[in-house]
């Protein structure tokens, strides 16, 4: 009797999830034909929070980079969109893509500074950098200074003639960005970099001794996540049509809520942020008129999750049923023949 091994990358659950996932995506792509205008708006929000959550989870859960300054890149992406469209005469959709690219480029020198700090100090350092961006943009009078600016009407019309046309386009872009962020994390984790990142997460010293270039890997992850975050930021303010430093670089909206989403859903998985976003929006619907109590409750849930179930809801689910919808790892299957 001999044994043979095969390395399996997909699981039964992941194949079922794939099929269901394709159906859901088709349904979502057709949403402009079945959903109300209000629902579409909310779904855009869900999509951009999902993308932000995937990026934060990628940084913290895999790259070991706990950032509380991701609002720097959201705001930068938003401002780049406005600057390119309003002053560069660039088509807003093209400006959106360029905003992501520029944000990634700006993240390179930013990383050189932020990476001088490690661990918890890195976290606060990223926050200082985000504040520098906020205060810096408030000084630029061409962009409206501290009070901000609106996207000129002529540019808004250049996106699409009708209001519903614009809204549908923004919706599809948001859906594409959300799916793109999931795909990006999925492909990154399946790549050679993914193995390196998992090694970094599991043990920094061990991975260094294994010859993994920790610094370079972290650097690239940070820059890639910044680019995607900048793209999301551009989308957010393309939907809002108005930008100001306080809104663009809000730590509460673009980092605190995102962290709560990831913590509650589960850090270090693709499924976690998806679940977290669903929980977050359900809670928001329930708590629509609780005022600040909503944030108190949400923060309380996140703190309790961190203390008692540090791997979040998805951690509880996957421990209990051993399922894995996004097979980023490799399973060794032993067969007897």
């Amino acid at each position: 009797m001999s044994m043979s091994y095969t390395v399996q990358r997909s699981t039964k659950a992941s194949r079922v999830a794939m099929t269901v996932g394709v159906l859901i995506v088709i349904g979502l792509a057709l949403a402009p034909y079945w959903a109300s205008r209000g629902d579409l708006r909310m779904m855009v929000e869900i999509f951009y929070y999902l993308a932000l959550a995937q990026m934060w989870s990628l940084l913290a859960g895999y790259g070991g980079l706990v950032s509380v300054g991701q609002q720097a890149f959201v705001g930068l992406g938003g401002y780049m969109l406005f600057a390119l469209a309003a002053f560069g005469g660039v088509n807003p959709i093209l400006a959106l893509v360029l905003a992501g690219v520029i944000t990634a480029l700006v993240a390179i020198p930013t990383a050189f500074v932020a990476f001088r700090l490690t661990g918890a100090y890195f976290a606060i350092g990223t926050w200082v950098i985000a504040e520098v961006f906020r205060l810096g943009f408030a000084q630029v009078s061409a962009l409206g200074g501290g009070s901000g600016m609106s996207l000129p009407a002529s540019i808004v019309r250049s996106i699409a003639e009708s209001r519903s046309g614009r809204e549908h386009l923004v919706y599809w872009i948001a859906l594409a960005i959300a799916l793109g962020s999931i795909l990006m994390v999925f492909l990154l984790l399946r790549s050679r970099w993914g193995l390196a990142m998992t090694a970094i997460r599991d043990s920094e010293t061990a991975s260094e001794s294994l010859g993994v270039e920790t610094y370079v890997t972290k650097f690239l992850v940070y820059v890639a996540a910044a680019g995607m975050t900048g793209l999301v930021g551009a989308l957010i303010f393309l939907q809002k049509l108005r930008i100001s430093p306080d809104a663009a670089f809000s730590v509460q909206d673009w980092t605190a809520l995102v962290i709560f989403i990831v913590v509650i859903g589960g850090i270090g998985s693709i499924e976690g942020p998806i679940i977290g976003v669903i929980v977050f929006f359900l809670l928001r619907e329930i708590a629509a008129d609780w005022g600040s109590w909503y944030l108190i409750v949400l923060g309380g849930i996140a703190v309790a999750t961190m203390l008692f179930a540090p791997r979040g809801i998805w951690g509880l689910i996957s421990d209990k049923w051993d399922i894995n919808l996004f097979p980023v790892g490799r399973r060794l299957i032993t067969e007897k023949d």
């Binding site: 500074v113 976290a123 504040e131 408030a138 923060g299 961190m306």
Partner: protein, 288 residues
């Protein structure tokens, strides 16, 4: 004279920043723990002082009698009951739990006290000043805060180097594992460290309330100032933290002298420059 005045005022402001920073520095030193809600605790102490003054009508300085021990007790039990659970090899739990606290504290304060700006009236202390030269006055209040910072840091230094508990705190900072073999209970030592840090936070909060307007949202900025003072000064060196606070304060007042909108930005930029040029800080820890 304007520039000299800006520098002098910046030095005095640095005293307040050093008070903000001392607690943060101490907690990181002993436990390798960074409290993201540090600034919000300072603001909470400021509201504590506001309550004490409102209910008793005493001078704001006297509110320290209640606020400082109150904060110390909260710190001790908060550390023992909640924060000790988050300590370990993983940096995520302490960061995310205290980040959650930050948002919770801001919103609770918002619900209880509203977003209105507050300030404690300190009477004659607020307006009194000493004239050094024509156009150069030193306010009595900023001077008092600066001298308090000197006193607090000197006191902490004496405590760390002259007492048995201080020695154990320093040893814990070196090696939390081996210190257990000396009969020290880490959980308790961490509680003491946070109690002391919180007492300093209490002092800082009362001075914040006396010196500037505050509202529930100003905590994060205080955290960043405290953090910058610690990093500029160099980790694990309390006198360095005072120097860091002064450098930050001077950078801010010089920035404000150029353009009032540049005050905070100038401080952040000074910090980033130090970070790039000398990431260990200007006065890194010395042995002995």
């Amino acid at each position: 004279m304007d520039w000299i005045n800006a520098i002098v005022q910046g030095i005095l402001l640095g005293g307040l920043y050093a008070l903000f920073a001392a607690g943060l520095s101490l907690m990181f030193g002993v436990m390798r723990f960074v409290n993201i809600a540090h600034g919000d605790f300072i603001v909470m102490a400021a509201y504590g002082a506001l309550l004490a003054v409102t209910f008793t009508g005493v001078h704001p300085l006297l509110s320290m009698i209640v606020v400082v021990p109150g904060l110390a007790l909260m710190g001790y039990f908060g550390q023992r009951i909640l924060l000790n659970r988050t300590l370990g090899d993983d940096i995520l739990p302490p960061l995310l739990v205290t980040f959650g606290f930050s948002i919770i504290i801001q919103n609770v304060l918002l619900e209880v006290f509203s977003a209105d700006s507050q300030k404690l009236q300190a009477g004659a202390l607020e307006t009194a000043s000493i004239q050094i030269a024509e156009g150069l006055n030193i306010g009595l209040m900023p001077l008092l805060i600066f001298l308090s910072a000197l006193g607090v840091i000197g006191g902490l230094q004496a405590f760390f180097y002259r007492t048995s508990l201080g020695r154990v705190l320093r040893a814990t900072s070196d090696d939390q594992d081996t210190v257990r073999l000396m009969g020290a209970d880490n959980a308790k030592i961490f509680g003491y460290a946070t109690a002391i840090a919180s007492a300093v936070v209490g002092i800082a909060g009362v001075y914040l309330a006396m010196r500037t307007n505050f509202d529930p949202s100003v905590g994060p900025a205080r955290l960043l100032f405290a953090f910058e003072a610690v990093i500029i000064g160099g980790l694990g060196n309390l006198w360095g933290t005072l120097a860091g606070g002064i450098i930050l304060g001077v950078a801010q007042t010089i920035g404000a002298q150029i353009d009032p909108g540049l005050q905070i930005l100038a401080g952040h930029i000074a910090f980033l420059i130090v970070l790039v040029v000398k990431p260990q800080g200007l006065f890194p820890k010395m042995k002995g």
